[in-house]
């Protein structure tokens, strides 16, 4: 082991501790498991070290048999925590209490997680122990409490030491790999020292990188990123040096790797290795093929299943009339039936626009889905009467039908309100028309406001 490796490891560790503020790590996590007889609320109170400031957080928990694992993120500089497992008078169990402190260069749960035993509580209030395997405790009144003292005095030293040793080991291992690759002797020449000098160049880069990460308000993620970034760059550098010794030209390989790295997210998405489409609006449709896509999408998320219903409806309707329906069903019906919809997507409908349909109106939605207090049955009958008259006057297709979709699988139908899944809408449609076809997915009503 050469001294410059010690120096490199030490400098990086100190920088790492300084830039990540290891002594005041921002947040720590408290996790515990609660089971309770009834649906309840759990609370955590903590006191900031050296002050009298006490903060608290709540979370709701489910009734047995659900096992509720609750995690609270609190200030790192805490010297006392109080757990309120349930806030009502109830039987409950409390177990697996753990404190997780981030800050290790490579996160080792055994070292970063500290378990808290119930026997180490400094104060227990309003708790009665009962002889039940399922629920060992019962709260006597509301808010039973378990208080623990937390000692964080040696954490800083412990973490710095662990980080230093980990880094030293990694550097030594990297150095060893490098020497083996080059078959070089262990004499530190200017050439063999290059990777270690490179580490020192990394330090300001790391600093800049961490600053940027903090700018984006994600210091915890930056810890991870910095760790992996350092390792990847260092090992990458060793690979480059090793490649230089082989018959491969290094520069093109690096460019090739970089270009592949740029294209990798796109390819990963299409091959279903990742689920989030890079750089795109999550609301855009799934235009790209993916290995994980199946025919079920077409079957359940389109109007394909309605074709039998549509065939029957086609026999019953007068061609060239118009109908009221939700946006999705309007398009599906338009493709199967000789009818015209009164709803269209904004860029397809609307008077005066390209591809226009002058009788497209969003008022139908307002009346048939709106609250009863605003639009009662009389209002709806009057509105439909006016609309029918307007259609006749302007020589537009007669307003004659309402199509209500019952599909619960198709999410494009589920989003809509003007469907048979909305009991209020069904009642309102029944007020203006009579049911003439009841299909597996689609119901057809004929508008009859004089009934």
């Amino acid at each position: 082991m050469r001294p410059h490796l010690f120096i490199a490891a030490l400098v990086i560790t100190i920088f790492y501790a300084l830039i990540t503020k290891l002594d005041d790590l921002g947040n720590i996590s408290i996790t515990y498991e609660v089971k309770t007889e009834n649906r309840n609320l759990t609370q955590l109170h903590w006191r900031i070290a050296g002050t009298q400031t006490v903060k608290h957080l709540n979370k709701s928990i489910q009734a047995f048999p659900a096992a509720n694992t609750v995690t609270f993120t609190i200030d790192a500089a805490t010297d006392k925590i109080t757990i309120v497992p349930v806030t009502n008078q109830d039987a409950f169990s409390l177990s697996n209490i753990k404190i997780y402190r981030p800050g290790l260069f490579i996160d080792i749960p055994l070292l970063s997680t500290q378990p808290l035993e119930l026997s180490s509580t400094t104060e227990v209030q309003n708790v009665e122990q009962i002889s039940s395997d399922r629920f060992p405790f019962k709260s006597q009144t509301i808010n039973p409490i378990f208080t623990f003292n937390i000692d964080a005095r040696f954490v800083y030293i412990k973490y710095v030491t662990i980080n230093f040793l980990t880094l030293l080991l990694l550097l030594y291992w990297g150095r060893l790999v490098y020497s083996r690759l080059l078959n070089s002797k262990s004499t530190p020449t200017a050439h063999t020292l290059t990777p270690d000098i490179f580490i020192f160049i990394l330090v300001p880069c790391l600093y800049l990188f961490s600053k940027l990460s903090i700018e984006f308000n994600n210091p915890l993620a930056s810890l991870q990123v910095i760790s992996w970034f350092t390792l990847i760059v260092y090992l990458g550098y060793l690979c480059v040096v090793a490649l230089k010794k082989s018959k491969i030209n290094v520069f093109p390989v690096i460019i090739l790797a970089l270009l592949i790295f740029i294209l990798l997210p796109d390819v990963s998405y299409k091959l279903s290795f990742i689920d989030h489409k890079p750089n795109s609006n999550k609301y855009t449709p799934i235009y790209h093929w993916r290995l994980s896509n199946s025919m079920d999408q077409t079957l359940t998320q389109s109007g394909h299943l309605y074709k039998e219903d549509m065939k029957e409806i086609e026999r019953l309707v007068n061609p060239s009339d118009s109908f009221i329906s939700d946006e999705a069903t309007s398009y599906y019906a338009l493709s199967f039936l000789p009818l015209y919809p009164t709803t269209a997507k904004p860029h397809h409908g609307g008077s005066g626009k390209d591809y226009s349909s002058p009788f497209v109106s969003y008022e139908f939605l307002k009346y048939l889905c709106g609250p009863d207090e605003l639009y009662n049955d009389t209002d709806i009958v009057e509105f439909i009467g006016k609309k029918s008259a307007l259609h006749k006057q302007r020589n537009w297709p007669d307003l004659k039908y309402v199509l209500l979709n019952k599909d619960t699988q198709n999410r494009f139908v589920r989003w809509q309100c003007l469907t048979a899944n909305n009991p209020n809408t069904v009642r309102k449609v029944q007020a203006i028309g009579k049911l003439i076809y009841q299909g597996e997915y689609i119901d057809l009503y004929e508008i009859d406001i004089n009934k």
Binding site: K247, I286, S294, D354
Partner: protein
């Protein structure tokens, strides 16, 4: 789910019968020269579309149902089989060497795309197109005299932008002949159109780069990475995406003709046409068929075809002296480019005559000024260094003037752009230097995911390729990637182009960033650089000439 498997077999029969067989037989019958089988396949698809149109016209004229067009096509195929010996000889003479490159990816694409299917979710507009086809089929008309969404007569609507019925007519024919539901047809079309797209792109890339490996890599990258609408394989049954197949094939024909144009002939557009119709009549007629099909299916690809060659010409004028192919291309393209640019400028001012303002004047003069700068520079190369410097300064000033930096920034840092009430489907207005309104596209509308980071990186790569190896392939790729990106960030250029096509087509200028081909070229080059193989072992685009 077995509905689709069962119906896929039925669909395949009709797809082959209507959209492959008639054209394939025609291509094998009437082309006596040795061609690759992949050429016959894509040419067959294009010719089948044409034959379907002709058959549909005939049955509509005689007031028969569209389904009768199928019988006409079957009869036509039977007549061609009389010349079976010619077909057999041409089949035997065909070049099958390229099939080994595409057969496996195509088979995989058929399987994957049959599972994925044509996109039928509500947002995809599939239902709009299906409704149009349904009304064509129901009314037995090719040109509807009423609007398919409202049933109102077109003469009563007034302002109405009609959609070209070329592809919807084919959908109606497929529906009437097979009896399958439109949803089934739409779903299955993706599985069979995607491999044709793949082959067509392979041919385009092959014609451009003269290299099978680059062509295969390009087609694979088109399938695997994000890009413009052409990379959206699930919307293959859209008219636009069908049009892309023909568009790529048109490029293939154009570049094949350019590479084959004899060096001893005087380079000029008229001599090129004369030579083409005398020596390569089949390719020339096929190119005209492609133009007709694009015009009747989606039209805007013809504009992009012209624009891509204008871009290529403009850049080639700066470097033509270094390369024989570029000099030749400048000779051939000068007349059409000058005429098209003049016509576009005059049309722009004619259409904007009533609204004219200083910003629109600048917008209208964009292409012509770029052309003038290019021509000055081209002639300056002969004169001396000072003129070259002036030309370069003019070009840099032109680019700097055109860039809207807030639009460029919005690509990386999405901001809430000024949305119209119609959301992302409409452009957002920006102010020109004189305070008048111009427009720019919104990155959110299908642009950002394609451009970041693949297409953007490819522009840098194209620069590197052009600097290290200045040839027709690289300059074409560089010109189109740079200038089409410039259009997306320049309100003046975008407003100018938007005058000739609806906005929903104008923002698709990004299709001209052919980044799969650029990446394929660089991967190929880097592989040889990395393995330090001698230059003479390379199969570079130039050496395979």
């Amino acid at each position: 789910m077995d509905i689709f498997f069962r119906e896929s077999a039925q669909f395949l029969v009709f797809f082959f019968l209507l959209l492959i067989l008639p054209g394939l037989l025609t291509s094998l019958t009437f082309n006596s020269k040795r061609k690759s089988f992949l050429f016959h396949l894509v040419a067959g698809f294009c010719l089948s579309l044409l034959l379907n149109h002709i058959a549909a016209f005939i049955v509509v004229i005689f007031n028969l149902e569209l389904a009768y067009a199928t019988y006409l096509l079957i009869a036509y195929c039977c007549i061609l089989f009389i010349k079976f010996s010619a077909i057999k000889i041409n089949l035997q003479n065909s070049d099958y060497s390229e099939i080994k490159y595409v057969v496996l990816p195509c088979l995989l694409l058929v399987i994957v795309m049959s599972m994925n299917g044509g996109l039928l979710v509500l947002h995809s507009d599939a239902w709009w197109h299906i409704s149009y086809a349904k009304k064509i089929s129901a009314s037995n008309q090719i040109f509807l005299d009423y609007h398919h969404l409202s049933g109102l007569e077109i003469k009563d609507i007034g302002k109405y932008l009609s959609y070209l019925p070329g592809w919807h007519l084919i959908l109606a024919l497929l529906h009437q002949s097979s009896g399958l539901a439109y949803t089934t047809i739409w779903h299955n079309l993706a599985g069979f159109l995607t491999p044709i797209t793949f082959v067509s792109y392979f041919l385009f890339s092959k014609a451009l780069s003269r290299n099978n490996i680059i062509a295969l890599l390009s087609a694979l990258l088109l399938s695997l990475i994000f890009g413009g609408l052409n990379s959206y394989f699930r919307i293959s049954p859209w008219p636009g995406n069908v049009s892309y197949i023909i568009w790529y094939f048109l490029y293939f024909l154009a570049f094949t003709l350019l590479w084959e144009f004899p060096r001893q002939l005087k380079p000029g557009f008229v001599s090129f046409l004369k030579w083409g119709f005398n020596d390569k009549p089949y390719s020339m007629w096929l190119a005209l068929v492609c133009c007709y099909l694009i015009l009747t299916i989606h039209a805007s690809e013809l504009l992009w075809f012209a624009v891509s060659f204008i871009f290529y010409y403009l850049l080639a004028t700066y470097i033509s002296k270094q390369n024989e192919s570029l000099t030749l291309d400048i000779g051939i393209l000068t007349l059409p480019v000058v005429l098209l640019t003049l016509a576009a400028t005059i049309l722009f001012f004619y259409q904007k005559a009533e609204l004219i303002n200083p910003d629109l004047v600048i917008a209208g003069l964009q292409f012509i000024s770029l052309l003038i700068i290019g021509l000055i520079f081209h002639s300056a190369i002969k004169s001396g260094k000072t003129q070259v410097t002036i030309g370069l300064v003019c070009l840099v000033a032109f680019i700097a003037f055109n860039i809207d930096f807030s639009q460029l920034k919005a690509l990386f840092y999405p901001v809430k752009q000024q949305l119209s009430i119609y959301g992302h489907h409409h452009p957002y207005p920006v102010e020109g230097i004189f305070g008048h309104q111009l427009i720019l596209p919104q990155w959110e509308h299908q642009l950002r995911e394609g451009i970041l980071f693949a297409a953007l990186t490819s522009i840098i790569v194209a620069c590197y390729l052009s600097i290290t190896d200045c040839n027709r392939t690289h300059i074409f790729l560089l010109a189109n990637s740079c200038l089409s990106f410039l259009v997306l960030i320049s309100p003046y250029l975008f407003t100018f182009l938007n005058n000739f096509t609806p906005y929903t087509s104008t923002y698709r200028v990004h299709l001209l960033i052919f980044h799969p081909i650029i990446f394929a070229c660089i991967f190929y080059k880097l592989y040889f650089l990395a393995t330090k193989q001698p230059v003479n072992q390379r199969q570079s685009p130039q050496s395979s000439l």
